[in-house]
Subunit: 434 residues, 4 copies
């Protein structure tokens, strides 16, 4: 987790301080539950909560000696709460605390990511509305195809982000799972009721069947979903990078006042934010592959997943959040060059409407091959500079026999072409409303 690509809130979440505090909450929840079940004297957990608070610095010092983080943590609490501390961690295995805490931290990280996903989603929705009726050239294979509307493109982003939101909500529900079930998950030395009450207090579900740990297919799903979000961010950023190419110049990511594209070349305005997101997406996708290898642990657990998670949990969540925030800055602050959009729409001189005329002819009974040849001959003449495409068609014997100049014009009308885009945008938005 590097400062450059993370928010303070996410760094705080994964700090030692925050981790130890979460452990403390888990230990207390268990202790309280045992009090409730009369397994621990009344008042113990309240006294511990009031007297103690994990001290990261001290814990790390003790760990230097004990080489065991949970024991170091318990010693620190013992130093503060004295004799009461013997009622902590009773019948627990370290993983009961660590995995339950990990769930709490991941759930919080998910919430931050969900918030930023929602913000970005809203920005796309707003742009979809704003550019609802702005025609823009649609491209397939990088080649001009038929016009679409700029609003549709943002609605496309919106609907994909919404799918990712659903995926993340489900994956977050999957990792909202704790476990207070002992060394191999059998409750050999702890009552299942303790787990039930404690996890209830913490807002977590019970792992259906645990080993020493919560099962890692849940986490693999979570990291996979982050990779999917990253891939969708990449898709949006890629579109911005294409739009901003010198020859295209249609839509630009925000460019700060005083920002310099190049120390030497004053004419440069580079899509560096979008490019940055493309790179980060690759990185986040890499973590997903790693997380999948954590699923197959040995028997009731081996600890190989632990080093992986110490690295990828902070890194993948912070990068994903950062990407979403940065992308939201790009989307919400983008500037549209309407002139360039119109220039590009006109670039092929109407050829992009050839299909519309072709289909009209076929509908009027012309054989497809004949229609194709007729339209193509006009297209070729127009594109080599010998006349206007629409006029040429209006004068072509076969075409003019079947279609009136009015009909030809309509087929070549951008407005006609994008007559359904409003419906598409509405349909995308509707899902939300439900």
């Amino acid at each position: 987790m590097i400062d450059r690509y993370s928010t303070k809130e996410m760094r705080d979440l994964w700090s030692d301080d925050s981790r130890f505090k979460t452990w403390f909450e888990v230990e207390l929840a268990v202790c309280e539950s045992m009090e409730q079940l009369a397994m621990v004297p009344d008042g113990v957990s309240k006294r511990i909560r009031e007297s103690s608070s994990p001290r990261a610095q001290r814990i790390l010092e003790i760990e230097q000696i004990t080489r065991h983080d949970v024991i170091a943590f318990l010693t620190d609490i013992e130093e503060q709460s004295g004799d009461d501390s013997r009622w902590l961690h009773l019948g627990l295995t370290s993983s009961d605390v660590l995995d339950t805490s990990f769930a709490l931290l991941l759930v919080k990280a998910s919430q931050m990511i969900l918030d930023d996903l929602e913000t970005l989603s809203q920005s796309c929705l707003k742009k979809a509305e704003e550019y609802r009726n702005i025609p823009i050239m649609g491209r397939t294979h990088g080649i001009h195809a038929e016009p679409t509307s700029l609003g549709v493109i943002f609605a496309l982003f919106y609907s994909e982000l919404e799918r990712n939101r659903e995926r993340l909500e489900r994956a977050a529900e999957g990792i909202r799972t704790g476990k207070i079930a002992g060394a191999v998950g059998t409750y050999a030395n702890i009552d299942p009721d303790v787990e039930r009450i404690a996890l209830g207090k913490l807002g977590l579900n019970i792992e259906t069947v645990a080993t020493q740990v919560v099962q890692r297919d849940r986490h693999a799903e979570f990291f996979n979903v982050l990779a999917q979000i990253a891939a969708s961010c990449e898709k949006i950023s890629l579109t911005f990078r294409h739009w901003q190419r010198t020859e295209v110049s249609e839509v630009f990511e925000p460019f700060g006042k005083g920002q310099k594209g190049s120390s030497a070349m004053p004419h440069k305005r580079n899509p560096i934010l979008a490019e940055n997101i493309s790179g980060l997406a690759r990185t986040v996708r890499g973590y997903a592959a790693t997380a999948l290898e954590n699923v197959a642990l040995w028997h009731e657990r081996d600890i190989s997943h632990s080093s992986v998670e110490r690295i990828i949990a902070p890194d993948a969540t912070s990068l994903t959040q950062f990407m979403l925030k940065r992308l939201n800055f790009v989307v919400s602050g983008c500037s549209v060059n309407h002139e360039a959009i119109e220039r590009n729409l006109a670039l092929t001189k109407g050829l992009v409407f050839s299909e519309a005329v072709l289909i009209k002819l076929v509908m009027r009974g012309v054989l497809r091959q004949k229609a194709y040849e007729a339209v193509q001959s006009c297209a070729m003449m127009a594109s080599s500079g010998n006349g206007d495409f629409i006029k040429l068609m209006s004068r072509h014997p076969l075409i003019s026999e079947k279609l009136s100049p009015e009909e030809i014009k309509m087929a070549c009308d951008i407005k006609h072409h994008i007559r359904h885009t409003g419906m598409i945008i509405d349909r995308a938005l509707e899902k939300k409303r439900k």
Copy 2:
């Protein structure tokens, strides 16, 4: 897709024949919808359906010339249905047919995988019931920890497979999505009603916002879920490989009569099925990474995803199905060596119960450190061959002061240790019932 690792039904699904037939179904569904909307003369689609059927051989021949598969397909139908064929493909772009067909094929593949997932899941459930009360050593880090029950281990597999079933059902719902919306998804030359009716006939959802294609985040999720299933299969197969080690010898995959472990070494009985599954899991996981790179296409689509999908769609679905079938053979036919299980349970001479006694002492008010030392001293003596662990504890001053011989014995009783495993198994099964 290689024969060795695929079923006939899956090979048939992805055959040229099957693909062309699916295209035909899509074209006919569109034609019928247009008839319904009075855009096409009555009876056309019925006549085409009766007169024609795609001929794979012929289509491939034509493609040699046209170098365009959909055109070759249409030509073949035209050769059979004559003039009526001009009403096919009207206003469609090739991707309307290809992507809608791809959805139909993937949905069918999902169904096969779901069936095999269910079968495997049921086998695990059965084993969970069968071995409900069979104690077996639980291992963490590969080291003996505390006993669990063999039934719990199968319940663990069962509950993870059930999570995968839910994932796959959702992912399959995501790709159950077609698109009949033209070159850039704007319905420029086709009525949205045609799509609505046609996809309804085919049992598919409408892509909320399409470009030329159905969006690839849906497919990425699908391939990610296959990778998750593969990872879970790997986890189960890994357990079998560990169980079957010569020194462990607890549970064995089925070994055919007359099967030879080695051409030279008659004593060998190798877990080759489980190993095979481990390898295939790696392969399937590799496809997920590739699928994620298909999400970010250029503008309204580039065709780079197509070559990827031609390879990984058949390969990933067939390997996943094959793994599930093979793993079901392993699970349902496994043989349990109860003698070895008991031998291994006794291997550490009761040391695995040390925690139980320790906790009982703490509950009786002994300081943890003192209790630990007392139990450890008995454990060390027992493990160096100087006496029986339980008897030593019964004679130890501190321990015997706090615990009666009966209580010590109970703490070291395997039955006591696994008293909750039945509840765990029931809890896992309950989810299903709901």
Copy 3:
């Protein structure tokens, strides 16, 4: 390995026929070596070679019964060569034959790939020479930067391909490694001299330390190198896709006569070959990740790598070869639109030369910031259509004080800008000559 993306020679290489023939060669090489060492009667191997030849059909039939491929193979040979066959496979373990054969097959596959790499490399070299002095706009971030030469871009491809050639030669040398050392690689039942002589005959190196198998780090390197080749192919194909964008239109992949870009839109000319290569590159890169997981086998081997290799060895080698061939078709047959290249060079009206003037001013003692402002003011005027950039600079007080009109013109001269590109191309080619 699918027909669409593979060559006949590669399919033949990985066919059952070819694999069994290679096994036969290995068995015979061992038998001949034992004859040479007087461990086997004279004439045996010659008689077997003359009487027998592996019959794929028959072997597969036998395997149905024995369920062991090597035994089935040996039975087939026995049926043909009779009693002599007892001298085959003496002291060998199946992996001696399989791994040594695998080495032979991979070496042949490497050679095919090396040939196609060389062909592509030569095509790039030829284009580098041909377009040596053709200026073209250089782009960073997709934004116009400074001119380069089209020849330099092909020289760039050439030099990267050459690096890949070296990588592949080394990796191929690494897998040119066989092993005839018995069940756990200790020569327990076979003389090391047999291995030495047999592998010598087959042109293979001896595995330094084998287990039951040749070590898989060698294969991981090989598949990694294929992934690198794929990534470089992707890089070249990406450039073509960018070049061919409607707004750029500088260089086009070949477009067959009669080829149709779109069944509906006659104006479309899509870079489908380049896009196809981009997709295949993703697929090949996926295999590399999988191959790395084959390195860590259990003890003296587990067989999990085998299923992986049955799939990825044919698939990765055939796709890599296919990509190289297709890319060579693209490079060697590409067409250059000189008009578009010149139009794009002029698009920013000289602004791309701003840095050259700026530096000249700094060299003449002007403070960087002052120089920057002077050049920028002229650039801004020119780009808003108020005058010619060079003329404006010639009239600017500060600039004209330090630089003569001649010097300004020279700084803005494309020829001057690309004066070193010939040297760069020569330098790239020189490496080859050495």
Copy 4:
């Protein structure tokens, strides 16, 4: 790069301080070269070197304003060296400094990794010598196969590490490549001689054909090699994890005095170091996939690779180094349980020698099938506790006819079995000596 899994020297290398110092060295090397070529006044670089030194804190402050790191850096130097600073960065583009510096940093990181690789390699070699003649059971599929020697296993590790050393040396040579060639690599505003002299001073090669940047196939190879090293570390750590299983107990990773395997279970001694390495290996392998996606940049460069490298360069190098150090601690400090090794060797009561007798019989003219049946019948009797395997064979009619008791005994002698292991170890070591 997290403290827990990195060394101080590696953290220092990638610190802001170290990066800025490296930039300074590159700028000075260029300035000195220009002095040498009389393009810059004599004495300038000496004066700058004496007056200035990059101040990380100050640079980060300035970057807050300029939002461009190289400009911030230059401003800091300017603040210290005054007017002389105008001779810095002349004709350079930021990437000239950044990529050349990146090469210097990566080369240093490689050197650290190479040193630790060498140390680990030497430890394996030492263990290979030490355990040269210690027989240990060889396992294939996790099942007992034939004996090998413990020394051979360490020689196996040694020879694989040596191959990795060669790979890393080559990859490090590949990234030992700088570039001082301007905005698009054409030397438009800088003399190629400056690059030649400056990179010579810095000990770097010249990029054959550069764009704005050094080509990323070089870095992909480097990260791939780190992934290979990680995979080999995983392989070694996996062997330790298997060895340390309770049922196997043959070789143990070091266990610190006072270290606790479990807070509750005093009998636990877990292979946590080896497991940790297994996890880290997964993580490092994940970075390789990401690095391969950096190869295909747009045209003369896009900046998407930059964010990736800011993360994975420190992370992949530090984790790889850490793994090597930790693994060296495991290998060099491991303890061997000779008793367990012997117990396991005897576990199958001689059945592992069955092949040796079988082959001897075949060599004496017995048909393989007959010999197999004879040996198997003795093996089955022995394994069901009805007699000693060797004695049973000595009494078997067919076996005793062909082999003397002495010969049978010799075939079943472990020493005989591992008679070639010394040669294998010597052969592995020999490579080093050359």
